[in-house]
Amino acid sequence: MKAERVGLALAVLAAVLWIIPFVWMLVAALRGSVSGQLDLASLWPDGPYNVANYIEAWQSGHFPLWYLNTALLCAGILAVQTITVSLAGYAFARLNFRGRGTLFVLFLLQLLLPPAVLVVPNLLMITQLGLFDTLPGIAAPYCASAFGVFLMRQTFRSIPRDFEEAARIDGASRLQVIRHLLIPLARPGLAAFAVVSVTSHWNEFLWPLMAVSSPAHQVLTVGLASFTLSSESGGDWGVIAAGTALVAAPLLVVFVIFQRRFTASLVSTGLK
């Protein structure tokens, strides 16, 4: 038991280190810009405080639109992914067909090739589909997910076959079984996948930058870059901190609220 206490103490220490950038972000964002760039590094909240940085960051862009676009994008990707990964995950978990191993490796290939690696061909593809400069265009390459298929396969495997066989005997078709029995049982796995999917698409930068032009379709990260990526001057730290806080806030809040449930979901997928 002594070892466990030492472990916990070390974890506390690590957590303190881990949270420092966030503390600085919040302190720097609230620190008034009167002192210019002097003593910006202090973590101690020494004022004077105001929300000028937040106001400047907010006015530098179209945050309500960016929030909406990003939320729509993440929701849309997740909606389609839920269908594709459940079906494929089921096939890999339950069906014995020829070439299953090979196909599975082919699926996993996508893990290694996110759109960032294949920018030009993917751009050509969405242009040919008429999806260039649209939210569905950003979403399209992500609608199939190797990671999701893998996760769902594990989840389905952890559900006892007996349930399914009982339903089949009662005359349910395979699709009915998937939809009414397995998907509800696999909810924890889907929840875990949802979190991973939403976080990664919420935070992605390079591909949305390339795939969309109109300001009407801009997402948060690309918008944020407008005040973090200034190459000729030095950074406007207070505004950068405020903008980062604005971008990160929704996910952080949601995660803090649902932390327990989410970890429980992931644990229950039987992914090990």
Partner: protein, 300 residues
């Protein structure tokens, strides 16, 4: 008669195959458009030699040029260092955190949340914060190191330190995420195993080495693959913070590909580098996933 029955009732194997294909079709169509087709395209392109103003021809010239390019070997070396420097500590830390934070107390919930927070912010944003943290003299790190009497350090501007700084950010960003997988893995280890070992009087490290770590084999495989992919494709912070410098000391394979494709407009070299990169990654991943598969079969 027999023939008719056969045609009306295909063999169960065939039926399963058709069903599987139907279930996989949506994914396969999407993967074909956005993964397989581009990969075939890149592979073909890598075999086309075309330099400025010349007629294209087929051959392996791009690969020869790639091999001769010192920037590429530097990028490969950096990527290997970066991968080792991030994956090993991240996994060790993630396992450590998971072991320390297995219980369900309020404090543990808070600590888990804090450790996972970096995963929830965009890498571009994290990079912007860390540019300030690493600022020589006036930045967060130097400000507090100065209180301990250490002189200002040019973290991102020294060829010896820059890669280390980039590695530190990646560890900070991803460890909490990997911790989740270890938490899931640990929860799957039956309690009686460890209890039995405890009764036998096995110490903490014996239990770790003999029971926990072997049973977590598949988790290690999975996390390693995810981490490997992350080190290769997540380079937003390199772009924002160093642009691959100083003197190429933080240049990575993917960034090299970008430089060739978009700055030097050398599609042949970029495609060849992509093929090499994907090939290597695929080989390593298949190896890692094999161990994962074995572990799962072993258990079921």
């Amino acid at each position: 008669m027999l023939c008719v029955t056969l045609s009306l009732r295909p063999s169960p194997g065939l039926r399963t195959g058709v069903l599987a294909l139907a279930l996989l079709a949506p994914s396969l169509v999407l993967l074909s458009m956005f993964t397989y087709w581009p990969v075939i395209g890149v592979t073909l392109r890598s075999l086309v030699e075309q330099r400025f103003g010349q007629e294209p021809s087929w051959g392996f010239g791009n690969f020869a040029r790639l091999e001769a390019d010192p920037h590429f070997s530097k990028a490969v070396g950096n990527t290997v260092l970066y991968a080792l420097g991030t994956i090993l500590p991240s996994i060790a830390l993630a396992l450590g955190f998971a072991l320390a934070l297995r219980t369900q107390t309020r404090l543990v919930a808070v600590l888990r949340t804090i450790l996972l927070m970096p995963q929830l912010i965009p890498l571009v944003a994290a990079a912007a914060l860390f540019v300030f943290i690493f600022l020589p003299g006036g930045g967060l790190l130097d400000y507090y190191l100065a209180k301990l009497g250490r002189p200002a350090t040019n973290w991102l501007g020294s060829p010896d330190l820059a890669l280390g700084a980039i590695i530190a950010i990646t560890i900070w960003k991803n460890t909490g995420y990997y911790m989740l997988f270890f938490l899931a893995g640990l929860a799957g280890i039956p309690a009686d195993y460890t209890e039995a070992a405890l009764i036998d009087g096995a110490g903490l490290f014996t239990r770790l080495r003999r029971i926990t770590i072997p049973l977590l084999g598949p988790t290690f495989g999975f996390v390693t693959v995810i981490a490997l992919v992350n080190t290769l494709v997540q380079i937003d912070h390199v772009i924002v913070m160093t642009g691959g410098g100083p003197s190429d000391s933080t240049n990575m394979i993917l960034y090299y590909i970008y430089q060739q494709a978009e700055q030097n407009l050398d599609a042949g070299l970029a495609s060849a580098a992509t093929v090499v990169c994907v090939g290597g990654l695929l080989a390593i991943s298949v190896l890692a996933l094999r161990s994962l598969e074995r572990g799962i079969h072993y258990e079921s």
